[in-house]
């Protein structure tokens, strides 16, 4: 490594970077190549997860907990990557996840492929900045082309079959494709239940996912209401309440507790007795207030004193305690109730309404959950995921979330492109063609971009056990010959290459985001020519 120092006018060296021996430094092309190597390694890990026949990864956390997943963002974030460039890719997949929710694997594979192509260009002596300029131009072209090949899919509240097909595409690569139709339907129904069609917005806060091991994946269901992982506070309260008027409280059934620091001294018997009376009255007052406003069930964010609990039972008020913050909000939304922070504020119009509230018990361990159904406001829904083991339940939840995101994206923007890498191949052809008209060095970079796009269909074919090069060249030639842009890789070996017929759709915004984000990241990596790493102290 070249030492970073300079000399003064007497020829004595002085050090610019302090404690140089403790730092590792790479510069120039060497740095860029090291980055590309790292990015390629990361991309290679998730590459095999791509597509309907992609495989899963086991991730073992530092504490020995196991996650089995096919979701790019989950795999990336749990890998605990230390390398700086690797971390950038983790961020990349995370931002795709936050923004779009799906396509988190594809984006990493694309970024990896772009960098691989860039490496070749670097070897030819092309300056990194020229490469990134070329990529930029190519990306613009590809995105414009995506718009061209996209189709608008019609959907309405009654005609959801196309949304359903898109959800299926997203679920195809996950383990839940065992119950493919069912999960896709759940995703579509859940989103449509909560979607605000006028504003074209979907509030994910209204969809809750509860998982419980046991049963099988096919037992998963969509509950039009709320599920709370709690039970009634007193074992002898009735297990089912019909026509429930629910009081939602965020104050504990306990003696008042002022927030300011205080001290209450008892100095005489009279005071002692008064205090006891006050305490008794406080409890009774609380229960009376709840009863008076007409509520027949109480949900409370806090705990109950034993005495209050017993009083509630005596007054035939079933109660749920320690309901978590998000659940309280969800409950309030679902039942159209108001969250009441003080007993004094309770009134009948602040109560929520639900058709039934019941406690459901599972298995042999006496675990139970409270199901709130037929709510006043049908907007809040809960997906109740079942599965044979913990890992599968977790993975099913992640997969459903992805599928819901896809449906959400279509509600926001109902343009789709065709899956099975048809869109990538079509863009690759378009970019390649356009490159011929560019007279500068960027032409090379643009051709490389087209080749990088080909990496996606290659990976798909490879994962599906098809010969990658043969498949790609066949599909490409067919696209050009027949002029149909919806031809793609036939992963499931059905003999049909037209993705329009196979109903493999991806939302346009998802694909566009993939192209844009991946190109942006690659440009950023190409621009770095110097890395200074602080070595950990040797202690």
């Amino acid at each position: 490594m070249s030492a970073v120092y300079t000399t003064d006018e007497y020829g004595r060296p002085f050090i610019i970077v302090r404690e140089q021996d403790k730092k590792a430094r790479t510069t120039g092309i060497e740095a860029t190549k090291a980055h590309i190597m790292a990015a390629k390694t990361v991309a290679n890990i998730v590459r095999t997860s791509l597509g309907p026949r992609g495989l899963d990864k086991i991730l073992i956390s530092p504490d020995g907990d196991i996650t089995i997943s096919n979701d790019g963002a989950t795999i990336m974030s749990q890998m605990a990557i230390e390398n700086q460039i690797g971390r950038l890719l983790v961020e990349l997949s995370k931002s795709q996840d936050d923004e779009i929710g799906d396509g988190t694997t594809g984006i990493v594979v694309l970024a990896g492929a772009l960098l691989e192509e860039a490496e070749e260009l670097l070897d030819r002596g092309i300056h990194p900045i020229r490469i990134s300029d070329g990529f930029e131009q190519a990306c613009k072209l590809a995105v414009a082309h995506l718009d061209k090949v996209s189709d608008v899919i019609p959907w309405s509240k009654d005609n959801t079959s196309d949304l359903f097909k898109c959800a299926k595409t997203s679920l195809g690569s996950k383990i839940v494709n065992k119950c493919h139709d069912q999960f896709a339907q759940i995703a579509v129904d859940a989103i449509l239940a909560v979607a605000d069609l006028e504003r074209k917005d979907v509030d994910f806060e209204l969809i809750k996912m509860e998982g419980k091991v046991g049963g099988e994946l096919a037992d998963t269901e969509l509950v039009r209401g709320v599920i709370i992982d709690k039970d009634f506070s007193h074992p002898q309260m009735p297990k089912e309440v019909k026509d429930a008027k629910i009081a939602i409280l965020t104050c504990p059934f306990e003696p008042p507790k002022p927030k300011t620091k205080h001290k209450l001294d008892i100095t005489s018997v009279k005071e002692f007795e008064e205090l006891q009376k006050f305490e008794r009255d406080a409890f009774e007052g609380m229960v009376r207030r709840v009863k008076e406003c007409g509520a027949n069930i109480v949900a409370c964010q806090w705990g109950f004193d034993d005495e209050a609990n017993s009083l509630l039972l005596q007054h035939k008020l079933p109660a749920i305690r320690w309901v978590g913050g998000p659940e309280v909000e969800l409950l309030a939304i679902a039942t159209n109730g108001r969250i009441v922070p003080r007993f004094e504020d309770l009134s009948s119009e602040k109560l929520g309404y639900a058709g039934t509230i019941r406690e459901v018990t599972y298995g042999t361990t006496n675990e139970s959950m409270i199901v709130v159904e037929d709510c006043a406001n049908s907007k809040a829904v809960t997906v109740f995921v079942r599965g044979g083991n913990k890992m599968i339940v977790d993975e099913a939840k992640r997969s459903l979330h992805d599928a819901m995101c896809v449906v959400r994206n279509l509600i926001v923007d109902n343009r789709v492109v065709y899956g099975g890498a048809a869109a990538e191949i079509s863009c690759s052809i378009a970019v390649d063609k356009a490159a011929d008209q560019v007279s500068s060095i960027e032409q090379y970079a643009m051709r490389s971009f087209a080749r990088a796009l080909d990496a996606i269909p290659m990976a798909l074919a490879e994962n599906s056990g098809l010969p990658p090069i043969e498949t790609l060249s066949f599909v490409k030639s067919q696209q050009i010959k027949q002029g149909i842009t919806s031809l793609g890789v036939d992963c499931m070996d059905t003999g049909i290459h037209d993705m329009k017929e196979q109903f493999v759709f991806d939302p346009l915004i998802s694909k566009r985001q993939q192209f844009l984000l991946a190109t942006q990241l690659v440009k950023m990596i190409l621009k770095i020519d110097d890395v200074i790493v602080h070595r950990a102290d040797e202690e």
Binding site: N83, Q236, T364
Partner: protein, 526 residues
């Protein structure tokens, strides 16, 4: 050249290596518990180095879930198997060994297919088809006798015997089967096993165990209070009976001279006396409290002729409230709102050398108590686990009354159905289906092996019997022959279905993996 991506200490296994390590891990776990399967299965001793568990960390058990829970495993696939066994335990209560063994056998078959270079997803496709046809066959074979009361009870007894026969209680399985069925039928469809209490007392013989229709509380009656009561009216409470604290936050007694202190103390005592009087005024003669009762209120209760029992644990009072039909009360100001419990007799009974309180002739007869006796603690613990398994299975059968036949009969039935279905499936998937059928056939093979019989011969005979259309043929592991097991070895349909589904789900999950990334273990500070 590859770049250093992960932290130091992190490892990555890819493709073949990852698959191999998963399958080997799963098979190892399967082999570990395999020998406990069936009526002639063997037990395992688990010795914990830290001295946890039983008396000296020694556990003797036959229960798959217990064995797997106790072994710290480091293999990811093995952990998946442990998890399905735990889920099986929570969901159905038994079949914890079977589910692991079946999953391991499926993976063992899958390994051979992978060696033939078949894509894991193709294998999975085949397995899914196989699971579906096995499930259909199982559902078709399931019968329900819930309408015929006599036959229904016979079924339950048979299921209990099947479950118990692989456990330590096998010798007395008829007696225990009766006990378990009686206990579960009392629940009237509820799956809340908390209502069945199991009391373990070392000493005596296993066959001295009995089912008590009343409720036994492992507590002593207060001093100077009646030992036997007829026509008891019981108040079940959860309230402080030491000193009634002022719960208003921050309250604190502050006095300036001893006279005042004495007065406060008197006021406290008066408050307690008032509380006791309020309780006594309810007209009760038995008072059971979850919390402590101090000597002073205890004496007051004795004066009032009330039997006071302190410090009953939470489960205890819940069960007691349930059986006596009372409510658990914590406030006593509104006497008309408190529901009292009732029972015919409350008496002190002696089990072994311990005195306990028995509530006999209770109003709601849902709860009951199983008293287990045995020579050693390990035996008692294992007996409790066995009883729990049997109760859990039975309570689930009450909810889902369909039954299937055991002794390898159902497995052979499913295996044949899968084999038949495989013939109609074109392509490589049919090879996977055949492999699945082979895995199912491994179950009777293991049963026979564990019994020391000629498994190859027996299983072939069994298979032939099924092909002849004798759909209820199974293995009699005591006679070592193929017999008609209908009515002899019965198992819960729900249990078998769950074993099939969980095992294939887990196998699928493990097969789908082609990469294992293990983060650097967290550094522990010593």
């Amino acid at each position: 050249m590859s770049a250093q991506l992960f932290n130091e200490g992190a490892t990555q296994e890819r493709a073949e290596n990852a698959r191999l390590s998963n399958i080997i891990g799963a098979i190892a776990v399967g082999d570990l518990v395999k020998s406990t399967l069936g009526p002639k299965g063997m037990d395992k001793i688990l010795q914990s180095t830290s001295g946890r568990g039983g008396d000296d960390g020694l556990v003797v058990t036959n229960d798959g879930a217990t064995i797997l829970k106790s072994i710290p495993l480091d293999n990811a696939a093995a952990k998946v198997l442990v998890n399905i066994s735990k889920v099986q335990d929570d969901e159905v209560g038994d079949g914890t060994t079977s589910v692991c063994v079946l999953a391991a056998e499926i993976l063992r078959q899958a390994e051979q297919l992978l060696d033939q270079r078949i894509h894991p997803q193709t294998i999975i496709d085949g397995f899914r088809l196989a699971t579906a046809s096995a499930r259909a066959a199982l559902e078709q074979a399931a019968v329900s006798h819930v309408d015929d009361e006599k036959q229904w009870r016979e079924d339950l007894l048979s299921i209990a015997r099947t479950t118990l026969s692989s456990k330590v209680l096998a010798a007395d399985k008829h007696q225990f089967a009766e006990m378990c069925v009686d206990a579960v039928l009392r629940l009237k469809g509820s799956t809340n096993l908390d209502r069945i209490q199991i009391i373990k007392k070392a000493g005596g013989k296993v066959s001295d165990s009995y089912l008590s229709d009343g409720f036994i509380l492992n507590k002593k009656i207060g001093v100077n209070q009646p030992r036997v009561l007829k026509g008891a009216r019981v108040l079940v409470a959860n309230t402080p009976m030491d000193t009634d604290k002022v719960k208003v936050f921050g309250a604190k007694v502050k006095v300036s001279d001893p006279a005042q202190l004495a007065e406060i103390e008197r006021a406290e005592r008066e408050k307690m006396r008032a509380k006791v009087q309020k309780i006594a005024a309810l007209g009760i003669n038995v008072f059971v409290n979850r919390q402590l009762i101090y000597n002073w209120p205890e004496q007051l209760f004795a004066d009032a002729g009330i039997m006071a029992i302190e410090h009953a644990d939470f489960d205890g009072i819940e069960r007691l409230a349930l059986v006596t039909g009372g409510e658990i009360a914590s406030s006593f100001d509104a006497p008309d709102l408190i529901k009292l419990g009732a029972c015919d007799t409350v008496e002190e009974v002696i089990i072994g050398e311990d005195r306990m309180v028995k509530f006999g002739g209770v109003a709601a007869g849902q709860a009951c108590t199983v008293v287990l006796r045995s020579g050693t603690n390990q035996m008692l613990d294992e007996a409790e686990r066995s009883i729990h398994d049997a109760l859990a299975v039975l309570s689930q059968v009450v909810g889902e009354p369909r039954i299937v036949y055991g002794g390898g009969c159902s497995e052979m039935l499913m295996s044949n159905a899968v084999d038949e279905a495989a013939k109609t499936v074109p392509g490589k998937r049919s090879i996977a289906m055949e492999a699945f059928a082979r895995a199912l056939r491994q179950m009777p093979t293991i049963l026979a092996d564990n019994a020391g019989l000629d498994s190859a011969d027996l299983v072939a005979k069994l298979r032939a019997a099924h092909y002849e259309g004798r759909q209820t043929a199974g293995l009699d592991l005591f006679a070592g022959d193929v017999v008609d097991v209908a009515g002899r070895v019965t198992e819960s349909f729900k249990l078998k279905r769950q074993v099939l589904l969980s095992a294939s789900e887990a196998a699928e999950m493990i097969l789908r993996v082609d990469d294992i990334i293990r983060c650097a273990p967290r550094q522990r500070r010593n």
